[in-house]
Symmetry: none
Subunit: 218 residues, 4 copies
DNA sequence: AATGAATGAGCATTCATTCAT
DNA sequence: TATGAATGAATGCTCATTCAT
């Protein structure tokens, strides 16, 4: 009986914890990290502010958890994509495309996760997850290297470079209106606006050229 | 007699402005952008808070100036490198190498400028400077594209990707001790530590492969 | 168990809100609107500054509430008076008298509400309340105009004029000691001090003459 | 020689003082009392901020002087009007019209002088000048009372009432757009917008009815 | 366990006033 | 005498965190 109650309580606790995280994630998507206040999260989760502290001892703690949740979500999708497709090339193409497509579809979250200002206490987490992302691609790069279809390269470094290249391109693209108005960004002005598909293709092609041997890409 | 802005006064003004900027920069390095409060800057510069506003009309203004101070040097160096060398390929290689080498030499600042959290009011500035950097490379990419030695590609996008690829790699490399301790980053562990030169070469090669036609790279 | 807003809590909330308003009102009376700072209100209400913001989202909001608190009583009294009396003339006389009598009884507050400097963000509110007052009289004026016992006149304008005439007279009267000492105000000096009743009568008569046809006034 | 120099200096001092006052007045017209900062006045007067303190020991001092300047200007115009015209009625009509017309033509200044928020340290001055205005009309009222063409009334009180009636009407009219949008000001809505001439006529008529015997007004 | 009212340090910004030059 | 740089107290407002109920 007592055991049961405990189990039920634990389930409930987990549910609330999940709800808080979900709402926090949503809040970031809607308002950026700046809008992520304990009060707002509590209100959206329909609990009291104090209650949030039952589940997360800190705001930083909560942030880290949100980060993890959001990132894992994305990483899972990329990992899944990297497991589909017959050849390693197909798998890499698939995972890169997934990464880019998802980020482009929800630029606010992508932006928040990659580039948006967060408290310095989160940086460690951010860096850890950057590495996680890199890992995702590193596995594939390693495979391709072994198969002699990718260039010989320090795969972990290249993987990081892939993540950086994609992230930066997406950030820049999501904020192009700002840049277009800026006198220095004349190169941006000289080009018509690309569709999301084109954008995605270009990014992925850039990445593939960097790691996959030319003859394999045809 | 009417008061004239003397040499002495002008010098003093410039000195104080420089002092503020220096202290702000130092503050960023020590505490991150988060620690950059007007009060702290004023205290460290040994002036009153109000005085800061004689030199910078805004906190954002001050930040922009710090940004500029820190970035201009870097961009100048890269631009200079892009003007040396006989062929476009040499020029691109030179500027990429310069970017990477300098960033690797002072990773803390590089990190702050590229990836550290800043107030949202600064994001525009950050993006502007990202664009400035991208522009630096975009010019070269355009030239190489015209000469048919670089792949046909939206140069501005590729330029952004180059910046992202390099920045990410450097950030990851500068914080490798964190990753090494992390269970998931097994790939990082499987590789011996690269020398800065090797690191730099690999990054540059990655970038070149992504934009320069294989036959040109030999 | 889930926390429910108890009667006790609600009462307490209302009490604190009332306390803030009371102290704010007192502060205005003692130091004018200029002395109405959040810090001062909080200190006098023996709460933290932040707490004030739980009850009023803005300083302006607080001011508006103080305004309302102070004004509503007055307006209610005037409206009530305008509903008593058989004829429209009696009703107008009654409400004008009520307005004047009450204002004369508490000139400090009347002064603050009508003439004291407030922050520009409050001007709208002040004007709104001026309008509210004007409205009170405008309704009666309209009625009298329809009955052909008041002059044909733009009633809203006349109503404003009535409010202005009464307010100014009261302000001047409440501060006569200043004027008496002033060399230029010889006319003030040439008249003996009027009793409050006489004062009130004169003001009301002035107003009536301005709007009510002479033959009706006899 | 020494005497001459002093004279010239004094003239110069007076000129600068006048310039400061003029610019301050203009500043009020353009930006309201809130925009009246020492720095702004100094800049517009093309002198240093510190220099302002050579001519006015306080900001309050300066404000008082501006007030006096601006008010005297207006009062002079009204007094002048009160001296033209053959009959006392004409003179009163003239001065009322002058007051209203000038205030309506430059509502910002009128508004600032009569109703805009200023520091409490200015209130005494404001009240003094209110009295001055009242005096202007009181003289005429006295004359008309003696001639048995105006009602028997405490002239100083009536004079204040005239000023109040006109000021309030003008303030309300100058800010009608605010009130029109407000749900409570339905009376304002029910009336088409009056031309400045009509407005002026109505105000003056209101005032005349309040003080001049009906048979004299015809 | 949950609540949410209360806290108060912290922040950017303004501006009258002073004073060394 | 004029200058204008420097001052720093003051203000409105935010929000992570605590704690009595």
């Amino acid at each position: 009986m007592a055991y049961r109650a405990t189990r039920r309580t634990e389930t409930r606790k987990a549910e609330i914890r999940a709800r808080i995280l979900r709402q926090a994630r949503q809040l970031i998507i809607e308002t950026g990290f700046r809008g992520l206040t304990i009060a707002a999260v509590a209100a959206r989760s329909e609990i009291a502010t104090g209650t949030v502290y039952r589940y997360f001892s800190n705001k930083a703690d909560l942030c880290v958890a949100v980060f993890e949740l959001a990132t894992e979500h994305e990483i899972d999708a990329v990992v899944l994509a990297s497991q589909q497709g017959d050849s390693t090339l197909e798998q890499l193409t698939g995972s890169l495309t997934t990464f880019a497509r998802r980020a482009l579809r929800n630029p606010t979250l992508a932006y928040a996760l990659i580039a948006e200002p967060v408290g310095p206490e989160l940086e460690e987490t951010r860096l850890r997850y950057r590495s996680l992302w890199a890992d995702t691609f590193a596995t594939l790069l390693e495979k391709g290297k072994d198969q002699r279809i990718f260039y010989s390269q320090p795969t972990y470094l290249s993987a990081a470079a892939l993540v950086g290249a994609m992230a930066e391109t997406i950030v820049i693209s999501s904020t192009q209106q700002i840049n277009r108005n800026h006198p220095n960004s004349n190169h941006a002005n000289s080009q018509r606006k690309l569709s999301q598909t084109e954008l995605c293709n270009h990014i992925v092609n850039f990445c593939l050229r960097a790691v996959v041997k030319t003859e394999v890409l045809i």
